[in-house]
Symmetry: C2
Subunit: 312 residues, 2 copies
């Protein structure tokens, strides 16, 4: 099979042996695979794939058709349309995925939309509801509202009866982010627009002190991206005074059972809303697998709304 | 009534008007009142009493007899032995407390033990179980194991089937803390003894980075004391990598309904263990109300195991 491959911090297309589905696993003929911030880091050698994932084939999400079932796999049948968050290896013609982390593709989604759906909606749902316990009527602040996870979080919050505010650095994208249902701000001085019950941090440490200032009593900050910096000063007395909570997370490093649980929650609580047309993933641009290197450059350049997806 | 009173950062004994129980409140003839770190801060003008509590009478916990009932108060009868965490005003002959935050005094406790029980066990129970969701079989690290909250937390963790490790700066106190059921360490290099599922931080920011190093995946740090410093550098990438959570809290600033809920949880989950003799509060020393200033000096000097209590 052909696959995007990391070679000396560049993306090239190489031939690899076809993977084989083991116990409980499914071989997927990949049709689309979204790019994510983690792929950029892996290309630079900063975010190695976890054990069990291909070391040199990037790709943390995929959508495609079931090509073959490993021993004991029974949730899906050959030809079924499936999608998943994976530890790596998504940007290839074939990928092996444990059946417990696969989700069905809702009928309205074409392949590019399906390839860009699992990572952003699983990440946003896990952060907002599993970690931050966002409730109806609460106020959410999303830093980095124009990215894939940001656009998913705004829509999920609105669908759950919460209010969404988003900071967006790129002026050109603010109107589109607003159309997703958020009040949109420039990043500077955002704390004046609080208090917020939940802050979803996709930008990093530079916001840490102002996030605490902007937080309501019993507020929660969830950090899932640190592209602008990882280290910042934390005032523990302010944390105590707000009775606040800061959590950090990644999906990638979790054990199988936790990934499977996150997938079940998305199936149960998110896919019906996608099927009903209430939620969607904005697709900024698609690239053929052969043009994966160009897709990475486009992702790294920023300034887009929504996802960059490879079609395979 | 006579009461410990803050005057120009000193503790003096002054006459005050007797308080009167309002709707749902109880007038308590105070018999004992434990000292806490918050009293030291309030004496220095750094931790003002919340609205509704006497501004100049310190004391965040008390035990005594019900002297009179306000309109509608029905949970207790005159003469009942009661105890509570209060927003202030505990170090006085009389105090008014809402009946929903009062707890009965378990029969084995004499007045000094009862006066030193509510704050430490409510704080420790709330931090370990309500905030950190400590589970049987998990490993707890307590920084500041010789203080009142530390000794309560060690005993609660052991009673709940968790393992307790405590750092204790004062060498002379380590053996006694060990007898409560903890492995006891000097503070330096504690991170080598991890991983810990939960860290209870009673010392402050200097431990922040090493706490994260010492944390197990999905670990929780709860900060409820910052005597050694409030500001420290937080590495958000490390937080994400551990899928960790840092929360801060104080009991004092919470609304009545949250304080009442915390009291109900202590009644249900802690008092039976005190009644059964499995948990107790070490009392370091008692002082008469007239000697409150000396009691504060003793507290501030440190180096004690357990509580300093005023008998009134």
């Amino acid at each position: 099979m052909r696959a995007a491959t990391v070679r000396e911090q560049e993306i090239v297309i190489e031939e690899h042996p076809d993977p084989v589905a083991g116990n409980g696993e499914v071989l997927v003929r990949v049709r689309a695979a979204g790019l994510n911030g983690g792929d950029m880091m892996q290309r630079r050698g900063l975010y190695p794939a976890p054990p069990g994932a291909p070391a040199d084939i990037p790709g943390m999400e995929l959508a495609g058709e079931v090509a073959a079932l490993g021993p004991g796999a029974a949730r899906f049948a050959p030809g079924d349309r499936v999608m998943a968050v994976v530890g790596g290896g998504g940007q290839a013609e074939l990928a092996v995925v444990h059946e417990r982390v696969l989700m069905p593709v809702p009928p309205p989604l074409d392949w590019p939309a399906a390839g860009g759906t699992p990572e952003v909606f699983t990440t946003a749902h896990d952060a907002l509801f599993t970690q931050a316990s966002l409730r109806p009527g609460e106020r959410l602040l999303v830093h980095g509202g124009a990215g894939g996870v940001g656009t998913a979080a705004i829509q999920l919050a609105r669908a759950a009866g919460a209010y969404a505010t988003a900071t967006v650095r790129n002026e050109q994208l603010r109107e589109q982010v607003g159309e997703l249902g958020a009040d949109v701000l420039a990043p500077d001085g955002f704390a004046e627009h609080g208090p917020f019950d939940v802050v979803l941090e996709l930008v990093g440490a530079p916001n840490l002190a102002a996030n605490l200032d902007a937080l309501a009593p019993s507020g929660r900050i969830v950090v899932i991206g640190v592209s602008a910096g990882a280290k910042g000063e934390l005032n523990l007395l302010a944390l105590m005074g707000k009775r606040a909570r800061i959590s950090g997370s990644t999906l990638r490093a979790r054990p199988l059972e936790q990934k499977a649980l996150a997938a079940r929650l998305v199936e149960h609580e998110v896919l019906p809303l996608i099927e009903g047309g209430q939620l969607s993933v904005p697709i900024a641009e698609t690239f053929a697998l052969e043009d994966a290197a160009a897709a990475y450059e486009r992702f790294a350049a920023g300034g887009k709304l929504g996802k960059i997806v490879l079609t395979i």
